[in-house]
Symmetry: C2
Amino acid sequence: MQKSEKKGLVIVHTGNGKGKTTAALGMAFRALGHGFSVLMVQFIKGSWKYGELESAKKFENFKLVPMGRGFVPTDGSVADEDRQAASRALAYAREQMKAYDMVILDEVNYAVTFGLLDEAAVLTVIDEKPPATHLILTGRNAGQSVIDRADLVTEMREIKHPYQQGIKAQRGVEF
Amino acid sequence: MQKSEKKGLVIVHTGNGKGKTTAALGMAFRALGHGFSVLMVQFIKGSWKYGELESAKKFENFKLVPMGRGFVPTDGSVADEDRQAASRALAYAREQMKAYDMVILDEVNYAVTFGLLDEAAVLTVIDEKPPATHLILTGRNAGQSVIDRADLVTEMREIKHPYQQGIKAQRGVEF
């Protein structure tokens, strides 16, 4: 394969359904099998569960960095601490991305939606992406300018959810 | 946690977008972190790539069984060998599923769509699922009676695909 064919993709998983973070984990799993190094930065605390944190320990090249706070918007207000945590997470990813083959900004779209991050700052990270690095942005409500810059965009749509049937969250699936 | 709260879910990943198999892999990754045993049976050859096969080797409890043939329907005809391979894969999953905490029937919906499997046979497997086992069915065009039996259904919709921009498949992402 010619070197010139190696192009890092900008990938977006958005939509109201499940599977956005989970599919990013699956991509990490695939990339790690190739010996790629993967960095996953968390923008909203609680998006990662026990299961993946345990499995990730098997891979030396998989770095998970939980930097977000447990931000749950109820009244529309955003605390300075939440904004600062999100900005630190993005600055960290921006600084580190050249050292990784794949970088996942988990729930970053959600962080933009709720005013924790400026979209312009996220666009800067996309624009500065090293050519061979794959960059994955997850979270509902991905902005149009993020989508415009992406190579691959998938919308995960919720068709049916167990909560609708009164079923509790199940170990090994939802946590 | 009371034993009675443990309910295995029937989960469907369908739609024309990427991420159906990948999100199932991510679910396997999460479940394995809990010490769950996972069986993934492949109905269409070629849906699994080098990356995940390598990563899967790290997990003793993750069994991947590639039983499908490289079926690509061009003229609408289905060879007996293809039908037999799909039926063997389904019979294997049906027989083995009681020994696993999570069973993934990868591309099974696609196999039904192309006449490799009768939908009735797939419904039987769903109906016979042990109560605590999670059963995941992937593939586009999931049938309505499969959806009716599911607890969690997500449609992966393609919004943008790199092929549209003339970008070749990239190692670590698509294979």
